[in-house]
């Protein structure tokens, strides 16, 4: 994390000891513990925090049992945006299902497509060319930055710091412009295909990405300047919502929530996929595991993602952008005029799609919210027999209960914000 010389911090902040190295050293900084015994003359009141509420995290319904202002019990009720994506995919060809799966976790759409494409490539035993791998990494990391920007912006909005969301949306627009350049659409561009990417990056894309990389660290400094030492933000986030690492691991939680407790578990480093092992980046971890750590982990991850994008651009290899196996990927259009086999392959791929030999596989990648896994059962036909996406928000939602119990309702809002639930992923 940030290892600044404590003497560089001004005297006032030094005495308040907000740097992470000194966190926990002063006993009076602990948040007040609300009594866990219910006094006999107070009444428990069950209230519904309905699917429509101003916290902009989707249609999450909570049944709160509160005693005064303290939440005693908490039940999340989900399913209000359930779309039946998994069942719809069984009716589509493999490459058509990419569009369905993309719309699941709608802030990190490239990750959904990536997990699904990786599973199908595993089942087909396909090699992805190195240029396609690097392009995929560039887009994934840009999407990670966009997702974290939106998450931090809406979290600050929920806590009352409304200016953050305007700044983060400003930078998110830059990233969406990049996506529009390469994929054609701001959101859900269906850029990843089985075997590579659908098209090479246009000329001028690299220059624009480099401009973005040059401009972005100063912007992240701006965001940190707004929120890092903000008194209200610190009071609302420090020592709030601490869940122990063992509890999180028992619940199956991964991602920034787990890394905030100090566990450096990241699938990009532990089980590298798609040439992540070629890049040099760090895994930011927190120390205490409160909301402030989760926020700091996300901010630091944005910086690391910028580094990865820069390294990927520097080392972008030449070569094909999609596998040359004509039975899986469409042949380039200029071949259609000359080669009969190319025409037949094109026809078969567009009408029927490629067939996958029977089998099943599960592949997981590291999405901005944790481990995003995809499980596909193939039965030899052109349509998958079962597609299941292991969404990180669905499993992370189970940690809302230990995070929110015996805290104030206002802390619960911060918990929901820092949990970063994407209801599209939870409900699928």
């Amino acid at each position: 994390m940030s290892s600044r010389n404590p003497l560089d911090v001004p005297y006032r902040e030094r005495e308040r000891s907000i740097t992470l190295e000194r966190m926990g050293a002063d006993g009076d900084e602990q948040a007040p513990q609300y009594g866990t015994e219910v006094e006999p003359d107070t009444e428990l009141f069950t209230i519904n925090m309905g699917p429509h509420h101003p916290a902009t995290h989707g249609v999450l319904r909570l049944l709160l049992t509160i005693e005064g202002e303290v939440v005693r019990d908490l039940t999340p009720l989900v399913g209000y945006v359930h779309t039946g994506i998994e069942k719809s995919c069984e009716d589509q060809q493999y490459w058509k299902a990419i569009t369905f799966v993309e719309r699941m976790d709608y802030l990190s759409y490239y990750f959904n497509a990536m997990a699904y494409c990786m599973v199908v490539e595993t089942l087909l035993d396909e090699e992805v060319p190195p240029r396609a791998q690097y392009l995929r990494v560039i887009h994934l990391e840009l999407n990670r930055i966009a997702s974290h920007l939106f998450s931090v912006g809406t979290s600050a909005l929920d806590l009352g710091a409304m200016s953050m969301i305007f700044y983060t949306l400003r930078d998110r627009e830059l990233i969406l412009d990049l996506f529009e350049m390469s994929g054609g659409q701001r959101m859900h561009p269906r850029y990843f295909q089985v075997g590579g990417v659908v098209e090479d990056i246009p000329p001028g894309f690299e220059a624009k990405v480099r401009g973005f990389i040059r401009a972005m660290p100063a912007r992240i400094d701006q965001y940190e300047a707004i929120l890092d030492k903000n008194e209200i933000f610190l009071q609302r986030m420090r020592h709030v919502g601490v869940v122990s690492r063992e509890q999180l691991l028992g619940l199956g939680v991964t991602g920034p929530l787990l890394r905030a407790t100090g566990d450096p578990w990241d699938l990009r480093k532990a089980a590298p996929y798609s040439s992540y092992e070629h890049f040099d980046f760090k895994i930011p971890v927190g120390t205490v595991g409160d909301h402030y750590d989760r926020y700091r982990v996300r901010m630091a991850e944005m910086r690391e993602s910028l580094r990865i994008v820069e390294q990927a651009l520097d080392g972008l290899p030449e070569g094909p952008y999609i596998t040359s196996n004509r039975k899986v990927a469409l042949p380039p259009r200029d071949e259609l005029a000359t080669s009969m086999e190319a025409l037949i392959h094109h026809f078969k791929l567009v009408t029927e799609g490629f067939r996958v030999p029977p089998g099943e596989a599960y592949v997981a990648i590291e999405s901005p919210r944790g481990e995003l896994g995809c499980f596909v059962v193939a039965d030899g036909s052109a349509k998958p027999a079962r597609v299941h996406m292991r969404d990180p928000s669905f499993v992370n939602l189970q940690s809302l209960k230990p995070m929110g119990e015996n805290t104030l309702i206002a802390d619960l809002i911060a918990s929901i914000a820092m949990l970063d639930p994407i209801l599209g992923g939870i409900d699928r």
């Binding site: 039946g84 949306l169 859900h188 409900d427």
Partner: protein, 201 residues
């Protein structure tokens, strides 16, 4: 929603004469004059009212799925800012909002919730159905979705796209504003008064 059709010619005198002819024999002279004056005043007042309502539609902060991200970008984003068209505040409470933008897929579990929220809004209220999943089922034509929010809500403007660009949503809001003002430049039928040329299903 009843659509105000202000199609009379602008000449005040001709309108008064026409009103007098229509009411010949129903009202005595002075009352007729009074009635005509009131009618003119009312229609001008209604025009002003519609102008005011159109230029300040306060949306309800209601987002369901991916279209909600683009809606937030359109409403609160610095590049496409809907506040310049009057949608200044997104109210959290439906009692205080004018229009609801159904942004996202409507599942069968959420449909009664949306209906209840719509019922809680006060007249006049408008509905923009944003995106393909709200207008029809989108690409998710299956057991879990209500195929189009117009099955239980009266929709004024449909904005297609998956998701529609923020500019598209802004255009949809502009269309809604034109509709509210009573000059619907919606289709060539209204513009050219093409009555009697509808296709018979």
């Amino acid at each position: 929603m009843t659509r105000q059709k202000v199609a009379a010619p602008d000449d005040l005198r001709i309108r008064q004469l026409r009103a007098q002819q229509m009411l010949r024999g129903d009202l005595p002279e002075e009352d007729l004059e009074q009635y005509v004056l009131e009618r003119v005043l009312t229609t001008t007042f209604e025009k002003a009212q519609n102008w005011a309502r159109a230029n300040a539609p306060w949306p309800l902060g209601f987002g369901l799925a991916c279209c909600a991200i683009e809606m937030i970008t359109a409403l609160a984003g610095p590049r496409n800012d809907l506040a310049r068209f009057g949608a200044e505040v997104t109210r959290a409470s439906p009692r205080q909002a004018d229009m609801i933008i159904i942004s996202g897929r409507v599942s069968i579990k959420m449909a009664p919730v949306i209906r209840r929220i719509y019922d809680q809004m006060l007249e006049p209220k408008w509905v923009i159905s944003m995106g393909a999943c709200a207008s029809s089922a989108g690409m998710f034509n299956n057991y879990a979705l209500v195929a189009g929010v117009d099955k239980f809500l009266p929709v004024d403007v449909y904005v297609p796209g998956c998701p529609p660009r923020p500019e598209a949503l802004t255009y949809g809001v502009n269309k809604l504003q034109a509709k509210i003002k009573g000059e619907p430049d919606l289709s060539w039928r209204e513009r050219y008064h093409a009555e009697g040329t509808e296709e018979v299903a």
